[in-house]
């Protein structure tokens, strides 16, 4: 029986317990439940762990495989270190929502069938919305509503697609497919909305930066990477994904270069990094899928690390924009160093986790002879160093002296950042530890002198480009328009415009309405009188009293008419 219980349920229980628990007990729940989950994740053997009947379907609540365990491991790790980072600062309901959100992500990892997958998918959508709302500002509330609409819409599309596939194939199994018919297309679209793929990627950079400094750390990890896992399980080798991934990679870089808000830079950079993974799933060879999984693992660690350093800065200074920050390295040395480790990792610098994972994806493209894809991914690697590797730490911790002298991170936040920094470097130096967990056997040499030299040239000359082009990258107090402009600005404007034209029509309609009412009033007065006024003489035709004889006469006439009509 216990084999039917998903490790996710431990986090669900913890999310429920966080509210009632108080003081040290609550801290204990936050810090121990993810470790217990991590242990449980590693107790799940390969294969389906039993079935439960639901309607006429056989539900498989828990299915293990190396790929599923890998994602669940990093999600549990994220919940633990995220909890450590947040537990002294975040409100209890934010922690509870974050844990329920993490539970959804881990549940998706072990979902053996499409129905279970959908249920946990929606759990993520609901509680990630709550985490966005925990930002607590009016802007966070509005962004949370837009976020919820987008994800519920994605959920509906996914559900319709799942039902179509289940009806047409008769199976609720999670099997690899290609986007060939309407239903598989709908599943693909539902997943891609969560992956922040174009054209519906604006929700990510809209919502994540509005959450609290602790909330954005959790948000950065789960939704998009669960979508990557779902793509690996359902659409490996779908060629469309190569193009989608490349678009995301470039979109992320360009928008991050334009951005001023420090967490929005990181949010765009999530789209960029997920683009690498989506592209790898599209290539679909064992090496590419290994690369996508490994990169997702590494990405969660260094992206959370970057969001943590941004969170410390926002917590200590209350400022969120590059134009207001700068020179913080003097009083925040630890946060600066951890941020630089994260920035080097995301830029796939040698000896960091980004190098040992992202280069698998590039090699997979090269092995398939995809010259264009390979060259674009390589250019994008340079671009990542530009927008996240240097731009982010430079504008936050260096550039000019903003005069701010905030204290460094509190101990628990510092510890969380140090743990993830250490992991970034460990996975860069000993990549074989991660490679051993990958879904396919790994025959891949992470380091060769030529490759290291090539990447050093690429990255260091991107750095040169950054500093030479600094005048072109002066930060401005602006936001950048995205596709969400269509429903945030254009649609309301069109409606207001139409309403402007419709005004005379409405006025005429209103006039007719008034005239009509007056007529009706006359009619009722004439025939029904004023029945509500007891003391008035009742004047209406039907309101008067009539002699019984007249009534009997009328009934007789009506009955005769009926009999006549019947015989005719």
């Amino acid at each position: 029986m216990t084999e039917l219980l998903s490790p996710a349920l431990i986090l669900v229980a913890a999310a429920v317990a966080i509210g009632p628990a108080r003081g040290h007990l609550r801290s204990a729940v936050v810090l121990l439940a993810p470790l217990l989950t991590l242990w449980a994740v590693w107790q799940v053997p390969d294969g389906v762990q039993g079935t439960v009947g639901f309607l006429s379907y056989e539900i498989e609540p828990v299915e293990g495989s190396p790929l599923r365990r890998l994602f669940a491991t990093v999600f549990a790790l994220m919940a633990w270190v995220g909890g450590l980072y947040a537990f002294r600062l975040a409100r209890w309901y934010e922690l509870a929502a974050a844990f329920a959100y993490a539970a959804g992500a881990i549940g998706v990892c072990f979902a053996g069938d499409l129905i279970t997958l959908f249920l946990y998918w929606e759990l993520m959508a609901l509680f990630s919305t709550v985490v966005v709302w925990c930002g607590g500002t009016p802007a966070a509330r509005a962004a949370g509503v837009r976020y919820a609409i987008m994800h519920l819409l994605g959920g509906v599309v996914l559900k319709a697609g799942i039902e179509g596939v289940v009806v047409s194939t008769g199976s609720i199994q999670i099997n690899p497919m290609l986007a060939q018919d309407l239903y598989s297309w709908m599943i693909l679209c539902g997943i891609l909305i969560n992956a922040a793929a174009p054209p519906l990627s604006a929700w990510l950079a809209d919502a994540y930066p509005e959450s609290s400094p602790t909330g954005s750390v959790f948000l950065s990890a789960f939704t998009t990477k669960t979508a990557v896992l779902a793509l690996i399980l359902l659409f490996p080798g779908e060629p469309l994904l190569i193009g989608v991934g490349l678009f995301m990679v470039m979109y992320g870089i360009i928008y991050a270069l334009l951005e001023n808000d420090i967490r929005r830079i990181l949010a765009y950079s999530i789209v960029n990094q997920v683009g690498f993974m989506v592209c790898a799933v599209g290539i679909g060879t064992p090496l590419a899928l290994n690369g996508a999984a490994a990169h997702a693992f590494a990405h969660i660690l260094y992206k959370a690390l970057l969001f943590m350093s941004a969170g410390v800065v926002i917590y200590r200074t209350g400022k969120t924009r590059c134009t207001e920050l700068g020179g913080l390295f003097q009083t925040m040395p630890l946060t600066t160093i951890c941020c630089i480790v994260g920035a080097l990792s995301i830029s796939s610098f040698p000896l960091t986790s980004g190098f040992t994972t992202k280069s698998m994806i590039s090699l997979a493209a090269a092995n398939e002879g995809l010259a264009g894809v390979y060259l674009l991914l390589t250019a994008a690697s340079a671009g990542v160093f530009l927008h996240a590797g240097i731009k982010f730490p430079w504008f936050v911790f260096f550039q000019r002296d903003s005069g701010l002298r905030p204290a460094d991170a509190p101990w628990n936040m510092a510890l969380a950042m140090v743990i993830f920094s250490a992991l970034c470097i460990v996975l860069g130096v000993f990549p074989e530890w991660l490679y051993a967990l990958l879904p396919y056997p790994v025959d891949y040499q992470a380091y060769s002198a030529g490759k290291v030299l090539f990447y050093l040239q690429l990255l260091l000359f991107s750095g040169l480009a950054f500093f030479l082009l600094l005048p072109l990258m002066k930060r401005t107090e602006t936001i950048s328009l995205d596709v969400d402009w269509l429903w945030r600005r254009a649609a309301p404007a069109v409606i207001a415009w139409l309403a402007g034209y419709a005004r005379p029509l409405l006025d005429a309609g209103g006039q007719m309405n008034l005239t009509g009412r007056a007529l009706l009033r006359k009619f009722t007065d004439r025939y029904l009188g004023q029945p509500h006024r007891a003391d008035s003489d009742e004047q209406g035709v039907f309101a008067r009293s009539w002699p019984i004889g007249t009534t009997a006469l009328w009934i007789a006439i009506l009955l005769s008419a009926y009999v006549l009509a019947y015989y005719l």
């Binding site: 250019a379 030529g450 090539f454 000359f461 480009a465 602006t478 950048s480």
Partner: protein, 88 residues
């Protein structure tokens, strides 16, 4: 850590000039090292001498310029979505 009258050593002009020299030397070294280290090219061009350096620099230049051009069209003031009385 820093006293008000004494600038952090990373902020002193002398240090910054020195850092530029060191950085330039490292850049030159990474290109020159290709004379002794073989860089495998998957598509001929990427094995050329100094390809990584030139490609990294030029693609960054292109991306910054494209971003600059798009920024002229896409950038709006911070309160763009708020000025309508958007409740947010």
């Amino acid at each position: 850590m820093t006293t008000p009258d004494r600038e952090h050593f990373l902020r002193r002009p002398g240090t910054i000039t020195r850092l530029w020299w060191i950085f330039s030397a490292i850049l030159a070294l990474t290109v020159l090292a290709q004379a002794v280290v073989y860089v495998k090219g998957y598509f001929v061009v990427d094995g050329w001498f100094g390809f990584g350096a030139a490609y990294g620099f030029l693609s960054c230049l292109l991306m910054v310029l494209v971003a600059k051009a798009l920024g002229a069209v896409l950038k709006r003031p911070n309160d763009y979505y708020r000025e309508r009385g958007d409740h947010d």
